[in-house]
Symmetry: C2
Subunit: 374 residues, 2 copies
Amino acid sequence: MYFEINRNYFIDEISKCNRIVDYKSVSPALTGIFIEVDSDKISLVSTNQTLSIKTNIFADTNDLKIKETGSFLIRGKNFIEILRRMDDEVISMNKVETNLITLSGEKSEFMLNVMDEQDFPTISFKEIGSMIEVETSDIKKSLNQTIISVDEYNQKIVLQGINFQIDSSILYITGTDGKRVSRKKIELGEVYNDRFVANVPFKSVSEIMKLLSDKGKTKILVSDNFVTFTINNSIIQSTVLEGNFPDVNGVFPKDFNSTIYVENKKFLKLISRADIPSEENSSTVVNFILSGETICIKSNIQQIGSFEEEFKEFELKGLEEQNIFFNSKYLLDALRSFETKTIEINFLDSKAPIVVVSSEDPSLSQIILPMFSS
Amino acid sequence: MYFEINRNYFIDEISKCNRIVDYKSVSPALTGIFIEVDSDKISLVSTNQTLSIKTNIFADTNDLKIKETGSFLIRGKNFIEILRRMDDEVISMNKVETNLITLSGEKSEFMLNVMDEQDFPTISFKEIGSMIEVETSDIKKSLNQTIISVDEYNQKIVLQGINFQIDSSILYITGTDGKRVSRKKIELGEVYNDRFVANVPFKSVSEIMKLLSDKGKTKILVSDNFVTFTINNSIIQSTVLEGNFPDVNGVFPKDFNSTIYVENKKFLKLISRADIPSEENSSTVVNFILSGETICIKSNIQQIGSFEEEFKEFELKGLEEQNIFFNSKYLLDALRSFETKTIEINFLDSKAPIVVVSSEDPSLSQIILPMFSS
């Protein structure tokens, strides 16, 4: 095995693979990155069993010159750090013995021990199933906006991830922990008749979010036990959570008694004040009292103290009286998920969920169940 | 007690006090900041027993208006966070009951529980002793350059800190762990005859460094068991370490056989490559071989691999052959402490300490003992 490659590009691609590696894995081989040098490309593969990634670098791109095929398995962490400390634009790698490779720049040379590649599992990346293509930036934003409602340790396994589901020409991305729901709609532009449902684990979602760029398209393929994301030269494949994701349509109230229209930033700052900081970092119960032209926000944490503020900078449609209690964290998460200037909060009564939306971005809804307080 | 103050300035001053607080202290009162409101100023005091700080804010500066004197003791952490979430430029504080204060802005109001101030210790900040005055930026830089050689867990108590000592008109600031010495000289401009010696604990030094700004002067006062730094409106007082600090002059070789002159950045990058990263984050033994016009740097870490590089970009005075072994971390720390473009490394032989200096900044010397390797 012998190849030359652009050092910085090589670092970027190894870093993608290294990010998902579980260094606490009981199987040492799984702490490595498998690098396979073919005649026309090199492939880098890593896995943490839930999530696997394969990234390809093609010959004659990024200074890649392949002189001899072969493969090796190496721990990413130190390897990246060694590459970072080098100065050269292009480096070369050469297998000199079964478990020994050289990494050379113009003047410096490292002899590096590699791991036994026989122990690395063969990972098959799926190519058959229902497939859609969406803007990468849309997927990235949607995952950020819906993951807030996911509890990765939820007792119901299927709620430990984000649900992807197609209904006709719309992709719904939904997260819920039973006390709130985050839902995003993406218009696909064409009608899909294939069944397309996948529950992607929280940890996979958070890794996938980091790997998504802000441009280009992402292909999503759903097969029996896997969901596979193809982004440029990389394929990321995750196992899926078993079970039936609840039909959240039922929790959306249809009619409301009051709607308030408010500048998101101002309301967010108000609620962040009501979210009194405490040692335990627990969330605060916030009392929202609408009374004509005034919203009064009150909260209280036993050991620290209490808060009260009157707020008048809003517009109102409907009933002028509401008195409702929330978990401050849920409301803050919901408000932060909107990138819009204004938001609308819809109320039915003190027992019904509230729905936060924005006319500037109708694709996102955040639903929060109220708390029952004295 | 009742006063008004500029919110942002108040946050800055509370933060200074909060930084040294030990929240793990067994005495709850010590986790608080004591705020005393006099007729002409308010004082904020905190302590972690080794280090204490007092900062004064004078009436009619920073929007401070004192309407009623008094005092309270409050946990800094949450208090700062509450103040940060407020919007107001000026806030007011009012004691309404023994253990209850209000914190008010224009529209919002917090009722905050405070701690029992009777339990907070009385701290006497020293005013009598030997005193010098130095540029704050000089002290800050010097502490950064000498703390690198201090091991806060050194078996010899007196070595767990930095030594301040005056000899005639020069202030020497020295750190050593027995294997290396960092020494800085500051010209005071006048001769001092008073005894001025203090060993300041590592933890105090690292906190003091954060409190030092880049302008103005710092007064340093040495009394029997304390060293006191006065910087603008703040007084920081530390206990000192007992014992006699070793006379490090003895370890400085006087004559050298070889001196190399090198660009610091280039040499630093070379040694950082030789410092092969490993799981244990241990330092590497680096072999430095000078042979005429070439320096060969070699290193080796059992599990990871080995490194070798030839380096020619240096000038040499004296003997053309040296072969010596170092701890990579010590050499890297020493090189990083110089802000100069070039450095000089002085060698006697493989058993004598090397001395790193720079003609661009003669105030700093870094001495490193070699390792004995095969």
